[in-house]
């Protein structure tokens, strides 16, 4: 078996007329934290959904732990998902259940454990994210950062071998941000998971990632360790990691020139009047 936990080959995926991926190939090493980065709209979240089998590619293969995800039948796909965890950007907690019940939800759905065991598992997972005292709160009573930590506890409750994080650092205060960053690294080491983090946040992501893949315009634009990318001579990589406004990554969405848009096609200004 290969050292790669996830292998993606020649992946094509479109939404309507818009091509998201046109021949992406990348590998995610086992037991490491891999970051998927890239400008907005490059399909980072879509890639996670393809790995989780929530979307099917137009062409190409997505192999997770030796399983060809797009060709799995429903039952096999749901079996494979028991070994996956995903932290959604919004947390996606079930709003009619308390924090405790949210975390107990996957256990209750898949196993018929006695209540005392479920309680112990849930409290241990809540302890990991520092929210054991918030077990009786409802999702509407949680702050954004707390909701994300609860969602993280729920995502790891079945001890997944692959953990996917969708924009885990967005919109958090500095303290919560630091907590989430260290949690991702700690969980990866202590639970022996393979982690995939989708993010734009260079500083936080580079601080925990072992391997970084940068996507752009439907392809894998660069990959390597954070140090390799920081020292890369590629103009694109430098613009991305340093956040420069000018460079190969355009600021503007494709459009006709501003003068033409305002003055009209014949540049006479009639359209503006």
């Amino acid at each position: 078996m290969s050292d790669f936990f996830v292998t993606i080959r020649d992946l094509y995926f479109s939404r309507g007329d818009r091509e998201i991926f046109s021949g992406v190939s990348l590998d995610i090493p086992e037991g490491k934290v891999t970051a998927i980065m890239g400008p907005s709209g490059t399909g980072k979240t879509t890639l996670l959904r393809l790995m989780g089998g929530q979307l099917r590619p137009d062409r190409g293969s997505v192999i997770v732990q030796g399983l060809e995800i797009p060709s799995l039948k429903r039952k096999a796909l749901y079996q494979a998902r028991r070994r996956m965890g995903m932290l959604f950007q919004s947390g996606a907690l079930l709003t009619d259940l308390s924090v405790f019940e949210n975390i107990a939800f996957p256990i209750r759905e898949h196993y018929s454990f006695p209540e005392s065991i479920i309680r112990d598992i849930v409290l241990l997972k809540l302890e990991l994210v520092g929210l054991r005292g918030a077990r009786d709160l409802m999702p509407s009573e949680l702050s954004g950062g707390m909701a994300r930590r609860v969602a993280l506890a729920r995502a790891i409750v079945l001890d997944p071998t692959l953990m996917m994080y969708d924009e885990p650092f967005t919109g958090l205060d500095p303290v919560t941000l630091g907590t989430i960053v260290s949690l991702i690294k700690e969980l990866n080491c202590s639970l022996g998971m393979t982690s995939v983090v989708v993010s734009h946040d260079i500083h936080e992501t580079f601080s925990i990632a072992d391997h970084v893949c940068i996507l752009s315009e439907g392809k894998l634009a660069a990959q390597g360790s954070p140090e390799e990318l920081m020292n890369s001579e590629s103009e694109f990589v430098q613009q991305f990691v340093q956040g420069k406004p000018d460079g190969p990554i355009p600021f503007h969405f494709p459009a006709e020139p501003l003068e033409q848009d305002i003055l009209g096609k014949d540049m006479s200004g009639k359209s503006a009047l």
């Binding site: 989780g52 950007q89 759905e109």
Partner: protein
């Protein structure tokens, strides 16, 4: 010009058939989850409460007022012909054959159908359904099927309550208030209303309406665009399509059953 018109009609028809196909596939998935729900009756009981029991109030009040109005108008008309003793027949046949099933279904789609659509649509918009998929829990079987079954079971029961209360409210107005002979009201009803032809057919109508209204509601919710506008549009569509489907099916069923 004409070609464009024909083209747009063709596109509309194709789109309608494609939607019907998607809705049928969705229904198959929902029905395949029934076994799982029956093995976990707690899921169904919870939904029966929120879909059925919570709809009871609007059904009870509407039934009472509809029964009273029917009786009042029926009396005004019948008394001119000296036929007010047939008031019980008029009220009961109207409610059992037509008004009970149709009004219950319309009220149910406004109260419970729209709530089902909005709830499922919002769960989709807030990624709760996607998160269930990633927890290896099928959202159709866990969320949609119990709601579908609850709607399907609730509406016929609500319709029976509607019919019974409407008839009793008609009696209160006709006999207690307007003075129609109590014996005539009930005995004529007993003579003229046939259990199999009238009552059972009325209930069959409500079973069909329950199936269709709940199917439309859960399908619209599950396929709502995951935005606030999308959920709002799905909720409106759910009520409008349900109303049209109920009225259209009512004509077909009435033609089959009573002609």
């Amino acid at each position: 010009m004409i070609l464009n018109f024909l083209q747009s009609i063709g596109a509309y028809v194709l789109d309608a058939f494609a939607s019907l196909g998607r809705a049928s596939l969705f229904l198959m998935q929902v029905l395949m989850g029934i076994k799982d729900v029956l093995l976990r009756p707690r899921l169904l009981i919870r939904e029966l409460y929120s879909v059925g029991v919570l709809s009871l109030l609007i059904i009870v009040f509407s039934a009472i007022f509809v029964g009273m109005v029917l009786s009042l108008l029926g009396y005004v008309t019948l008394v001119d012909f000296g036929a007010e003793s047939s008031l019980g027949v008029l009220v009961s046949l109207s409610l059992i054959r037509e008004l009970g099933p149709v009004l219950s279904a319309l009220l149910f789609s406004g109260r419970a159908g729209s709530a089902l659509t909005a709830e499922i649509g919002l769960m989709k918009a807030t990624e709760q359904l996607a998160s269930m998929e990633m927890m290896a829990v099928d959202p159709i079987r866990r969320i949609v099927t119990p709601r579908f079954l609850a709607g399907f079971i609730s509406l016929p029961l609500l319709t029976i309550i509607f019919m019974a209360l409407g008839i009793y409210a008609g009696y209160l107005v006709g006999s207690v208030w307007l003075g129609v002979d109590e014996g005539s009201y009930w005995s004529q009803m007993q003579n003229k209303v046939e259990f199999w032809h009238d009552v059972v057919n009325g209930i069959i109508k409500s079973v069909v309406f329950g199936f269709v209204v709940t199917w439309i509601a859960v399908y619209q919710g599950y396929n709502a665009m995951p935005t606030s506008e999308g959920v709002s549009r799905a909720t409106t569509n759910s009520v409008v399509y349900s109303a049209l489907a109920v009225l259209g099916l009512d004509f077909i069923l009435t033609a089959i059953m009573f002609i």
